[in-house]
């Protein structure tokens, strides 16, 4: 058989990945996780920090204090469990619902607020991108961008670069996150294909949370989820219970070990449920019943499951829970209030970083044009006057 290692059969039979064989989901958290106390507590605490941040930032968006927000509700185990399975120096390319990776790696609350508020501490985007578009080279977290799935073929390239870097070869892999909706983009095909054919140590991590905005997974694909596609690309694949932080942790640990040792990609599909709305611009009860969401929160809550695991070992109790919640509430609110008072980057940053090297003539001219308009009008035109006051130096460097 050219191009195939298949056995020969005389029976005509069309293979159906759904009914013939459904890829099972790997689960640990029914009681047998092997994990130390401090590490387990760190996982739970970082998981719990996500809703603490989500609650405050979701609400301040509702009050108009930030322009946009996206919560991680329901996917805390998938995000924190996977971050815990990586080395902190592995390169991470995210979609947008992976703030937890940064929290795991010690990104500060001030930095979170800085980006969401677009203030002068937003070194990740200098106030240029929408909220939750984080980035930090120090945390090996590539800056998020809105176009879906573009990070997937890029991650194949980042993995290949790691393989070619003598200092990091055999030590690091790339982890790329995306939702099951983004996996419908051509870029998913490109990334999987390139990583497998070219031999790139990249872990593809799909958060299958059942919805792409309003589109249920059933309208997203007709096959057996995303995992069933991996073998077609010759990519080692596993499906994990994404609400089981320890299953995710174990799967990612093994995936990165294999990816680095073999210079090959791995696909992980974490099945979970998007408890929150898609974003602050979305009301998900327009396309799914409130009761369904409430049921999920009760029957399969990743935070409760992790908490029960800790409590079963005597590593956690109600007092610890209360102490943590109070602490987070205070810290998050304090960071937000502090960030709220800070100014934005200088207005001139509007024109920088488009090109490396010398600023081209057309940008210089356009900066000068805005500058001349500001000189002429900013004292008399209220909307500009008010806005200028929000920038460091009140836009003086442009005047």
């Amino acid at each position: 058989m050219p191009n195939s290692a298949s056995p020969v059969t005389t029976e005509l039979h069309f293979f159906d990945a759904v009914s013939d064989k459904v890829i099972p989901a790997y689960r640990v958290l029914d009681g047998n996780g092997q994990i130390g106390e401090a590490f387990a507590r760190k996982i739970y605490e970082k998981m719990s920090l996500l809703p603490a941040l989500d609650n405050v930032l979701y609400n301040v968006q509702r009050q108009g204090k930030i322009s946009f927000y996206m919560t991680t509700h329901g996917e805390e185990a998938a995000v924190i469990g996977s971050a815990a399975g990586l080395d902190d120096t592995d390169e991470v390319m995210g979609q947008y619902r992976e703030m937890g990776v940064l929290l795991w790696r010690g990104f500060s609350l001030n930095a979170i607020m800085g980006q969401c508020l677009g203030n002068e501490e937003d070194s990740g985007t200098k106030g240029r991108q929408m909220p939750v578009h984080f980035g930090s080279p120090a945390h090996h977290f590539h800056t998020i961008s809105s176009p879906l799935a573009t990070q997937i073929p890029q991650a194949a390239g980042v993995g290949y670069a790691l393989k070619r870097d003598p200092a990091r070869r055999g030590k690091n892999c790339t982890m790329v996150y995306f939702g099951e909706g983004a996996a419908s983009e051509g870029d998913f095909h490109a990334g999987m294909l390139l990583a497998s054919v070219l031999g790139s140590p990249t872990v593809f991590f799909c958060r299958n949370n059942g919805f792409a905005i309003s589109t249920p997974a059933a309208e997203q694909y007709a096959g057996d989820g995303i995992a069933s596609r991996g073998p077609g690309y010759g990519v080692k694949t596993v499906r994990v219970d994404g609400n089981d932080a320890l299953a995710v942790l174990a799967a990612v640990r093994e995936a990165r070990r294999y990816a680095i040792a073999e210079s090959k990609p791995v696909l992980i599909e974490a099945t979970t449920y998007r408890v929150g709305h898609h974003s602050t611009s979305d009301d998900s009860f327009a396309y799914r019943p409130r009761s369904e969401v409430e049921n999920w929160k009760k029957t399969d809550n990743p935070l409760w499951r992790m908490r029960r695991f800790l409590e079963g070992r005597g590593w956690w109790d109600e007092a610890a829970e209360q102490e943590m919640k109070d602490r987070y509430k205070n810290e998050v609110l304090a960071a937000f209030r502090r960030g709220e008072t800070l100014k934005r980057h200088p207005l001139g940053e509007l024109f920088t970083d488009v090109y490396g090297g010398e600023m081209p003539w057309h940008l210089k001219e356009q900066r000068d044009e805005l500058s001349a308009l500001l000189k002429k009008y900013s004292n008399v035109w209220e909307p500009w006057k008010k806005e200028l006051a929000k920038f460091q130096g009140n836009g003086k460097e442009m005047l």
């Binding site: 070194s123 890029q154 090109y355």
Partner: protein, 433 residues
């Protein structure tokens, strides 16, 4: 798709037939441009009976070592080889694909992080630009990507962005610029914006995307396009088009080393038809700098890539019209004496505004020639800036000679691509205005 590409590969034979046709446009004799600064080739006497410029015999090409080493703007990356006035540097006769290959070899040998990849590059490329590189530098550094448009073109760009985001040098090839559109998202939304959107924390300056462009005589809709204009709005990218082997090598090395992502569009009809003595050592030519090829005082003729040679022919026809066009209605006697300034823009984004404006302020007239369709083309952008900056100096409206706003119909190409007659007519109309 692959079949089509194989077909287009035969384009290397096209140049000859195209040249025949170009000669057929007129059986007349062209000679020196009236009143222009002599270039090297012009110092040689024309053959008996004269000749009409073609790509192969173009006076724009530098066919001796001396003139090659005097190419304006050459920046040597290595020390001179001797104390002689020209540094003792050597040149070798190369066509454009050999010059591209030479540049890629230098990029790979001087930068350990550099990799070259794309469809069919490992065996040498459908246009031979990567011949022998895989053997010389290994399969990890010169490799094929899978061949499907979405995966490879967008994937090639995305993969290259990933490499470049890690500080490495990624030289990607998109087999034809007609197939760059699946990568439009990665190039416009990602590559162009990564430095800006990350507050300067990440960049993909190490990315260069090479792609063959422009017409080839029989490329039809999808082996003929000039998509440079589509990238004009993608600030953050640079777009470069060379005209000859010396230019291709110097501009490609500059693009590879520039701290920004660059789309490098190689006019494919020139791969074999343009031949020069190319310096063999490492050198670059400046980006965002146009080059004046012929000095003139009455009209600026501005273009890039293949049409430069068509412009050269049109200039020859203007100063010395073929018998069929000698009527006063076609080329008036006054117009024949006009001194035409020929400019190669070279970099489309960001383009050399100062250079163009300086020229038009001197000549008072501008004709822009490009193969892409007129509406939304690069000519529109340049014309708008020129009318803004040269309003009081302009003696005639800026004229654009472009492809029509249609796809490139296969059997219609001779009437689609701006040819010498259309450029001649535009110059005459502009001079007469």
């Amino acid at each position: 798709m692959h079949g089509l590409r194989q077909h287009a590969q035969t384009s290397r034979f096209v140049s000859r037939s195209t040249l025949r046709t170009l000669r057929g446009v007129s059986a007349c004799q062209g000679r020196r441009y009236a009143g222009t600064t002599p270039t090297e080739a012009q110092e040689k006497p024309p053959p008996a009976g004269g000749e009409l410029p073609s790509i192969a015999t173009s006076k724009l090409l530098r066919v001796t070592r001396e003139t090659a080493l005097k190419s304006p703007g050459l920046m040597w990356t290595s020390e001179p080889e001797s104390a002689s006035p020209d540094g003792g540097r050597e040149t070798r006769k190369m066509n454009m694909y050999q010059a591209v290959r030479d540049a890629l070899g230098i990029a790979l040998s001087t930068d350990e992080s550099a990799v070259v990849f794309g469809e069919d590059v490992a065996f040498g490329g459908v246009f031979r630009c990567t011949m022998g590189l895989a053997q010389e530098y290994g399969k990890e550094r010169v490799f094929n990507t899978p061949l499907t448009e979405q995966a490879s073109t967008n994937g090639i760009a995305g993969f290259g962005i990933g490499l470049a985001a890690m500080g490495q040098t990624a030289i990607a090839e998109i087999q034809f610029s007609d197939y760059i559109f699946p990568a439009f998202d990665q190039l416009v939304n990602e590559a162009a914006k990564i430095r800006y959107r990350s507050g300067g924390q990440f960049n993909v300056g190490g990315l260069t995307v090479r792609t063959p462009c422009m017409s080839v005589g029989h490329g039809g809709l999808y082996h003929s396009q000039s998509p440079e204009g589509f990238f004009l709005g993608a600030s953050g990218l640079k777009v470069v088009v060379p005209r000859s082997p010396i230019q291709a090598k110097g501009l490609l090395l500059a693009s590879i080393r520039d701290p920004n992502p660059v789309i490098f569009m190689e006019p494919k009809i020139l791969y074999r038809s343009s031949v020069e003595q190319v310096p063999i050592s490492d050198y670059t030519l400046p980006l965002s700098k146009m080059e004046t090829l012929v000095r003139g005082s009455d009209l600026t003729l501005l273009t890039w890539g293949t049409p430069l040679y068509t412009c050269e022919m049109a200039m020859s026809m203007l100063s010395s019209p073929p018998p069929s066009l000698q009527g006063e209605d076609f080329v008036p006697r006054d117009a024949r004496k006009a001194n035409i300034e020929l400019i190669d823009l070279r970099t489309i984004l960001p383009w050399d505004m100062e250079g163009v404006i300086e020229s038009v302020n001197r000549t008072g007239r501008l004709v822009i020639v490009h193969e892409a369709g007129r509406t939304g083309g690069v000519g529109a952008e340049i014309a708008a800036e020129v009318q803004k900056r040269c309003f009081l100096k302009l003696a005639a409206p800026v004229k654009r000679v472009c492809g029509w706003d249609t796809p490139v119909g296969l059997q219609y190409e001779k009437f689609y691509i701006p040819d010498a007659l259309r450029i001649l007519d535009a110059m005459v109309e502009t001079l007469k205005y």
